[in-house]
């Protein structure tokens, strides 16, 4: 090019097919075209195949009679209910196992994660052994283990393992006493809730007062009194005046099986154990790395101020570590929820087992059923991801 001497503001002449903008546009257009073509091909084939195999389409099947029973249901359900109701039952069962599992996994995970950093050699090694053992064994195998090797070989109802005569464990499940509140108990519950609210209000008032004057009265005993003292007092008053407001329905052996109380079916029980134990190993690692992310100077400063190790952990390290721990922990919660779909392998009636399993088999409407099931999990995942982004933005603001 001859303009080398004078050109300063003019863009250099480039052949149009070498212009990065044009190339990028063309590349994107071609890619989109290919994706659309492939998508169209697949959809076309699917429609074709469905027509040929006489597979119905649409969501009408959700109102049809399901015709199968479900062994555990949180809402009323019979085999006369619709597929739509079966879907709700499955979804609730998935959420149930996820929530219980998350609770225990967090509990165990925190204990093990903190124990891994213990200065006590034996405790630290035990926690490490826990993590390395359960993290490296497939979850499905662990579920099978608890279900087929531990719970199923238990003795039958007549030879149940009994704990204090109120809790029973046998090959049909875990039988717990269930609370049966009478009218007066709701007053106690109401007082309990009011106590929590009052304590929160007190805490807020004291925090404001501290910000304004630098002084603060401890709320602990007042709060405990409000939350537990008042309801307990009310409980006894009601008991003396009217009669015991809370009875327990204790399971009892009648004939060949137990009646009364709450039954936790072995499928749910083994699923919860396996999910909690497995996920706890991962949460423990998150907790450990979160604590290690807090600089050692914080610990030393706390010791220099005279804090004991456990107080240092509770007041100085954990609050700072939580910021690091919570995002990966949420994704572990999500993993636990997704992993609960392995329930299908031991026939616990979760969303996948009830909907993608039985409903799909009975209706044959693969496309709709697969899309709905995957959609539910996607919504859960994206919802959690959104929450996490919101949380991250919030703690990022707190950070100086």
């Amino acid at each position: 090019m001859s303009g080398a001497v004078s050109v300063t503001t003019e863009t250099p002449k480039v052949a149009w097919f070498r212009d990065p903008r044009i190339r990028s546009l063309v590349f994107q257009a071609v890619t989109l075209l290919i994706v659309l073509l492939v998508g169209w091909y697949l959809v076309d084939n699917t429609i074709d195949n469905m027509r040929r195999q006489n597979i119905a389409s649409g969501l009408g099947f959700l109102n049809d009679r399901a015709g199968f029973d479900i062994i555990q249901s949180l809402v009323p359900y019979t085999s006369d209910s619709s597929f739509g109701q079966a879907f709700v039952v499955g979804l609730l069962n998935t959420l149930l196992v996820a929530i219980i599992g998350i609770f225990f996994a967090t509990l165990v995970g925190f204990v093990v994660g903190v124990a891994r950093l213990s200065s006590n050699w034996l405790i630290a090694k035990m926690a490490a052994a826990y993590v390395e053992t359960f993290r490296n064994i497939p979850l499905l195998l662990q579920i099978f283990f608890w279900y087929h090797a531990v719970l199923k070989p238990l003795p039958g109802p007549r030879d149940s393992i009994s704990l204090l005569g109120v809790v029973y464990l046998n090959n049909r499940g875990l039988y717990l006493p269930s609370p049966e509140p009478f009218g007066g108990f709701y007053i106690v519950l109401g007082l309990f809730a009011a106590g929590i609210a009052a304590t929160l209000w007190l805490l807020r008032r004291e925090r404001k007062r501290q910000e304004a004057t630098g002084e603060r009265k401890p709320v602990l005993w007042t709060g405990l009194g409000l939350i537990f003292g008042v309801p307990v007092l009310a409980y006894f008053v009601i008991m003396l005046a009217v009669g015991n407001p809370l009875n327990f329905d204790v399971p009892a052996l009648t004939g060949f099986n137990f009646t009364g109380g709450v039954t936790i079916i072995p499928e749910l029980f083994s699923l919860v154990i396996a999910l909690s134990v497995y996920t706890a190993a991962f949460i423990a690692e998150n907790v450990r790395s979160g604590i290690q992310a807090v600089s050692h100077g914080q610990t030393e400063a706390a010791y220099a101020l005279g804090f004991r190790p456990n107080l240092t952990m509770r007041l100085i390290i954990i609050p700072q570590a939580l910021r690091v721990i919570i995002p990966p922990m949420t994704s572990q919660y999500l993993n636990l929820t997704k992993n609960s779909s392995l329930a299908v392998a031991i026939a616990y009636p979760d969303l996948v087992a009830v909907f993608m399993g039985t409903t799909l088999n009975q209706t044959g409407q693969a496309v709709e059923v697969v899309a709905i099931t995957m959609g539910v999990y996607l919504l859960l995942s994206l919802g959690t991801a959104g929450l996490m982004n919101w949380y991250n933005a919030r703690v990022a603001l707190v950070e100086r």
Binding site: L42, S119, N120, T133, I137, L141, Q142, P153, L360, M374
Partner: protein, 429 residues
């Protein structure tokens, strides 16, 4: 006032002689507090042995009250001396923890050793032999079915072909893991390009070898086939997706985001169900897909999405200057990625990649839900066999499976730790 006036000015700052220690820290009281009653657990470690010894002596031993107190003190001091010798400083919280830990370990070891070794049945020909020692493992079940656990229903006469493939695989994987420079590069090339073809022909058949349909494949062999296919397919796919997600082109970026987030948002089991019920609908009439291939595609797409996120982490960790320097050198996009960015990015995320491999390996067990007989699947089938219906057999089967899976996964994670140390990519304090 007068006293103050006299005392205060006598010392320059910092020159005041040390005051006597507080009364509670010296003498008998101080010693007791420091050594016997320093914390709650500490106090109980003193009082519990004392109480137990005292009660035992007074109630059951018929010793007088004074004699029992003396015995109690002696026992308590003895426990403390043992604790001091065993654990050094009287950090008694720690002592209690150690004792509790030791008891737990003892209980676990007791159960495990009795089950796996002392009470175990080592050779058995059926459930009758296993039932002889119901509290121990029945290893006879494992030895009797071992070949099925390894090869599934692969015909006996052709199993040498699987062995040969396995030897090839080991011969290539060892240099990949532990080799250096050119040898390693050749091994990687052979493993990615030649090995899949040779392995497929050896195991499936063709070129004069008898065809063994994939529904006869099973056991550890099938697990390894799925894991290795998943690994070799997901890594390149994951790299492409990660590059796409970091691309400047909105269409490409969004396509990749949707793809990645979709697979990451759903459980693998729904992917496998989808693969087994919907893939056949996707294809034109007459074209069929075999069950194994469907599972392989599902597993590969699923793990590619996770791999993409790992690789993206590495790409984000490369300073922008590296990208800019590469384009300043006049390298094209692909060249700058291949020569400058990816080698650095992939090195950083090797631990993450190995973790994905471990997850993938564990996830292969899910194929048994859609009717393939992987390692866990063959064991599960064995447990349903009436000839082995003894109470200790399920536990035996699962413990064996757990040991095998654990050995694989733990081996991989140790390798990743070793590599991380060698490359020094981990956290440095």
């Amino acid at each position: 006032m007068a006293m103050d006036d006299v005392v205060t000015p006598r010392y320059a700052p910092g020159q005041h002689p040390a005051l006597p220690a507080p009364a509670s820290t010296v003498g008998v009281v101080g010693w007791l507090r420091a050594n016997l009653f320093s914390t709650g657990p500490d106090t109980s470690l003193t009082l519990v042995p004392f109480g137990v010894a005292f009660l035992a002596a007074a109630w059951f031993g018929g010793v007088s009250i004074m004699g029992s107190i003396v015995i109690g003190i002696l026992i308590a001091v003895g426990v403390r001396i043992v604790a001091r010798v065993a654990f050094g400083n009287p950090v008694i919280d720690n002592t209690v923890l150690t004792i509790v830990g030791a008891i737990i370990i003892f209980l676990i070891a007791d159960v495990l050793l009795n089950f796996t070794i002392f009470d175990a049945v080592w050779s058995a020909s059926g459930r009758a032999d296993c039932a002889k020692s119901p509290d121990g493992a029945c290893w006879g079940f494992v030895t009797a079915r071992f070949s099925q656990f390894m090869y599934g229903f692969y015909p006996d006469a052709e199993r040498w072909r699987v062995d040969v493939t396995g030897i090839f695989a080991i011969a290539l994987i060892v240099p990949i893991l532990f080799g250096q420079g050119r040898i390693r590069a050749y091994a990687v090339g052979l493993f990615l390009l030649a090995f899949p073809i040779v392995g497929f022909i050896l195991m499936y058949g063709g070129l004069g070898l008898e065809i063994v349909p994939t529904n006869k494949w099973g056991g550890m062999m099938l697990t390894l086939v799925i894991a290795m296919t998943g690994i070799t397919a997901s890594l390149p796919l994951g790299v492409l997706l990660a590059l796409g997600r970091r691309s400047d082109m909105p269409a490409i970026r969004n396509l990749c985001i949707v793809f990645i987030e979709f697979w990451r948002g759903v459980p693998l089991i729904t992917v496998l169900f989808m693969a087994s019920v919907m893939f056949p609908l996707f294809l034109p009439e007459g074209v069929t897909f075999n069950q194994l291939l469907r599972a392989l595609i599902g597993v590969a797409l699923f793990s590619a999405a996770y791999m993409a996120e790992v690789v993206r982490g590495g790409l984000q960790a490369i300073p922008k200057g590296q990208y800019e320097a590469a384009s300043a050198m006049g390298l094209s996009y692909w060249k700058s990625m291949r020569l400058i960015v990816l080698p650095q990015a992939l090195t950083i995320v090797i631990p993450g990649i190995v973790n994905s491999f471990i997850a993938l390996f564990k996830d292969t067990t899910l194929v048994l839900i859609i009717g393939l007989f992987d390692f866990l699947g063959t064991i599960q089938t064995g447990l349903n066999d009436n000839a082995w219906a003894a109470p200790n057999v399920p536990m035996t089967g699962y413990v064996f499976a757990a040991l095998v899976y654990w050995a694989f996964c733990f081996g991989m994670s140790r390798y990743s730790v070793r590599l991380e140390r060698k490359l020094n990519t981990g956290r440095q304090h």
